[in-house]
């Protein structure tokens, strides 16, 4: 129950994400007609896939169904089973319009009520090869507000007095609702009605009583009597906006006729004082206006303590602080240069001032970072619903443990990790955890356990998703990889388990035998990895046959500023993200050994491959023979690698700037930054370097 209530908090997030995805879908679809590239197709497919996933997580089944059908068509297009033509594009665009409509109605609190059977038919027709008529989109009718529902209520005499009293002081309204038969979250509808009534007023009485409303202990009918200073027409339209309502009657108290056998119950503290005190009809049960009421009307004491700030403003502040950090470093350097040149008291003062500015800037940066922090709970709270629905659909029993929800991280990171985590979670439940009978046969408890945990580790957050399922069948992964032509059978046989597991992250590779609605289109894990890598994070997984699988994600706390190790490579400064740096060493020429024509060094008994950074970046200008080499040991998951650099310059905080779109994606470079001397330095992408070094 409370999980469902909590969903309302995430509607904003869903709407925001959804709009972005719909926009991508629309724009790319329009371009697709004239320029059908595989890459574009993939983008469209992913957008639809994301929409499907997030709408299902929110419990918007109409929305999810439509996107699922779209995805089916898109999948065929992607595989070139069918080719895009005007008809198909029209149908898909019609669907997008419908999705936008649904977003609007979700925003207005009506849920995803919309008639989309014709669109679904059109999509199915495309799949079955029939010519589809251009689909039109129409919003489903708003819930009927037919009067004359036969359920008005008898009022106990004392309450009647109280209400009459209240009526003498202001407008008292009476509203009666009948929900649709298939209404899924009756409580939520009741909660919405209560919120409307309480917006500018107070609830005096209700039937059934408030506790029963909260516990969903009512059939389809409920009614409220309340005072309200608002405009009657306005209140009516707000009631109309509540979805899944068959009918409702709304009017001044006393206008509606009573039916024997029911009685309204006074809400404690709601009815006017003279009658409520000492009235036997006063129901002692709803002592506190918990749940619905409490969250509907934020306590007045809270306002004034917090301010809602547009995220764009925070981003802007962050950028400005970023500039400040650059300039601080710059001024510090100028100060040092001046101090070397002149010996002057004033320069000493400058130094002091600079270091003071330095402290202030750091504090400022910290504070702004904190202002942007959110507990990861906001992401985690979407999970229980997903897991519950999914487990039910699959006939599995799953216990979900969420650990460390209070762990805070930057909003920018929060925004993007939701979907990757959801993908992994779905995978764990769909492919990982076995059916109850299989589990019992394997000597495990029938209920599978999936744990999602988050914790801080140095300047990172580590998120783990652990299931106690059957693990990943490596043989099958290899076979799939061979079938997909990613690797030869020979090479696959020689591959280590760790290497083979990496295929999980490959686009178009799914080990699920059948394409299910849940997962298995081979689209999930490659998005997951690319999203994580875009964040400068790492993803790793372990699996044990029959015991389970563990995914671990390591993410930076923020995306704007990183600490980096500055190194000199062929007279160019590169920044190595400190998060990936394990240690730095000075080695002798003789320490370098060769295995398979690869240079390696043995560090404390561990053989570590070496890479000459100058060669990686193709700027092998002059190879002056020298005796000593600076080596930066970097780590990626368990992989260790030594980067040979010309010089170590030092540690510094750098503000990440993206490479210009003009340069595109450059392998081994993740971004650029501006150093204290005003020059641009490149930020090395350790991931790219290590991965690019397979050969």
């Amino acid at each position: 129950m409370s999980a469902e209530l909590d969903m309302s908090q995430y509607i904003d997030l869903f709407l925001q994400e959804g709009e972005e995805q719909i926009e991508i879908l629309e724009q790319e679809l329009l371009k697709l007609e004239s320029d059908p590239t595989d890459e574009r197709m993939q983008t469209i497919f992913r957008a639809a896939h994301t929409l499907k996933g997030s709408s299902r997580a929110m419990g918007f089944s109409n929305f999810a169904e439509l996107t699922h059908e779209m995805e089916n068509v898109l999948d065929q297009l992607r595989n070139h089973t069918i080719e895009v033509d005007r008809n198909i594009a029209n149908s898909l665009l019609g669907c997008i319009d419908k999705l936008s409509d649904m977003m609007d109605s979700i925003r207005s609190g009506e849920g995803d009520k919309a008639e989309c059977a014709d669109l679904v038919e059109a999509l199915k027709a495309i799949l079955s090869g029939k010519v589809s008529p251009a689909a039109s989109s129409q919003v489903g009718g708003a819930p009927a507000t037919a009067a004359g529902i036969p359920f008005p209520t008898q009022v106990p005499p004392d309450l009647h007095d109280a209400l009459t009293e209240a009526k003498s002081q202001g407008a008292v309204y009476h509203v009666q609702f009948r929900l649709t038969e298939d209404c899924v979250m009756k409580f939520v509808r009741a909660f919405m009605a209560v919120s409307v009534a309480q917006e500018d007023g107070e609830i005096l009485a209700c039937h059934p009583n408030q506790e029963m409303l909260e516990e969903e202990e009512f059939d389809r009918d409920f009614e409220l009597v309340f005072t309200n200073t608002g405009d009657m027409a306005e209140i009516r339209s707000k009631f109309e906006a509540i979805g899944e309502v068959d009918a409702f009657v709304f009017g001044q108290w006393g206008e509606l006729t009573a039916e024997p056998g029911r009685h309204l119950e006074i809400v404690e503290g709601g009815a006017p004082a003279p009658v409520a005190s000492g009235t036997p009809a006063a129901d002692p049960a709803p002592a506190a206006q918990t749940g619905a009421a409490a969250s509907a009307t934020p306590r007045k004491a809270d306002t004034g303590q917090t301010v809602r700030v547009d995220v764009a403003r925070l981003d802007n502040l962050m950028n400005l602080v970023g500039e400040l950090v650059i300039d601080r470093t710059r001024i510090a350097q100028i100060g040092t240069d001046l101090a070397l040149r002149y010996n002057d008291n004033q320069i000493e003062d400058l130094g002091e001032t600079v270091s003071h500015i330095g402290r202030i800037t750091s504090d400022l940066q910290d504070q702004i970072m904190k202002a942007r922090m959110l507990p990861i709970e906001t992401v985690f709270n979407r999970f229980p619903r997903v897991v519950r629905d999914l487990a039910q659909k699959l006939g599995k029993e799953i216990q979900l443990n969420l650990v460390g929800g209070e762990t805070e991280l930057d909003r920018s990171v929060i925004e993007v990790i939701g979907d990757p985590l959801l993908h992994i979670l779905r995978n764990s439940i769909d492919h990982g955890v076995e059916m109850p009978d299989e589990r019992i046969a394997a000597g495990k408890p029938a209920i599978g356990t999936v744990t999602v945990s988050a914790k801080h580790q140095e300047n990172h957050i580590v998120i783990e998703i652990i299931d106690d399922g059957k693990g990943i069948n490596l043989g099958r992964v290899k076979q799939k990889a061979v079938d997909a032509g990613l690797v030869t059978a020979d090479a696959a046989a020689k591959m280590s388990d760790k290497e083979a597991l990496q295929f999980i992250f490959h686009s178009g590779l799914s080990t699920a035998a059948e394409v299910s609605e849940v997962s298995g289109r081979g689209v999930g894990m490659d998005i997951v990895r690319s999203n994580i890598q875009k964040l400068g994070g790492l993803i790793d997984l372990d699996t044990a046959q029959g015991k389970g699988t563990r995914f671990s994600l390591r993410l930076p706390l923020t995306l704007a500023i990183i600490r980096g190790l500055l190194v000199d490579v062929a007279k160019t400064v590169f920044v190595l993200p400190l998060g990936s740096v394990v240690e730095t060493l000075l080695i002798k020429k003789d320490d370098i050994q060769r295995i398979n024509q690869r240079e390696v060094v043995v560090i404390r008994g561990v053989t570590t491959p070496l890479v000459r950074m100058g060669e990686v970046f193709g700027r092998n200008v002059e190879q002056t023979p020298c005796e000593d080499f600076y080596v930066v040991i970097v780590g990626l998951a368990e992989k260790r690698m030594g980067l040979i650099v010309d010089k170590l310059i030092g540690e510094q905080e750098v503000v990440i700037k993206s490479l210009s779109r003009f340069c595109g994606d450059v392998a081994g470079v993740s971004g650029a930054t501006i150093l204290g001397d005003g020059n641009v330095a490149l930020i090395a992408d350790i991931n790219g370097i290590v991965m690019g070094d397979r050969g």
């Binding site: 500039e323 650059i326 160019t572 400064v573 990686v616 970046f617 193709g618 700027r619 700037k657 490479l659 210009s660 779109r661 003009f662 340069c663 595109g664 450059v666 392998a667 081994g668 470079v669 650029a672 930054t673 501006i674 005003g678 020059n679 641009v680 330095a681 490149l682």
Partner: protein, 152 residues
């Protein structure tokens, strides 16, 4: 003069203002409304694994913008940078881009009569960057098709 005014003039086909720069021994022109600013040459940080004509990134007041070498782009012999070398910062589809030229010589107002389509003789594939040729009393100015010239 703001951009709208310039566009308006252009649409009237009366005349257009062109930034003229030198590359090797030739004069080239870019419509003035495409030019954001002209800056002195400064430290350029090379970006590995990019096209040969991408010289690297420069710091433009806290922003990093890519700089391309037009000599390399046009397959002209490279030469040392001089005092007169400049970076012309232009607006392109993928944001601001700097273009290294030997020198910026002048801003000319060209009237429509002096602009001719590229003569067929030189209009081979090598000259896909050329939009038109302008004749002034003393010399020929090659007007660049900037979008083509900057396309990655």
């Amino acid at each position: 003069m703001d951009q709208d005014t310039i566009r308006l003039e252009k649409s009237l086909q009366d005349e257009q203002q062109t930034v003229v720069f030198r590359l090797a021994d030739e004069s080239y022109g870019i419509e003035i409304f495409r030019v954001n600013e002209i800056i002195r040459l400064r430290e350029i940080t090379p970006v590995p694994r990019t096209e040969r004509h991408v010289k690297g990134l420069v710091n433009l007041r806290g922003k990093t913008i890519p700089v391309i070498d037009l000599r390399t782009r046009f397959a002209l012999p490279t030469c040392e940078e001089t005092e007169s070398s400049r970076i012309i910062v232009v607006e392109s589809e993928s944001g601001q881009i700097g273009v290294v030229v030997d020198a910026v010589t002048e801003v000319l107002t060209l009237d429509a009569d002096s602009i001719e389509e590229t003569p067929v003789l030189v209009s081979d594939s090598e000259n896909q960057f050329v939009r038109a040729v302008a004749k002034t009393n003393s010399k020929l100015i090659t007007l660049l098709d900037l979008d083509h010239a900057l396309a990655a």
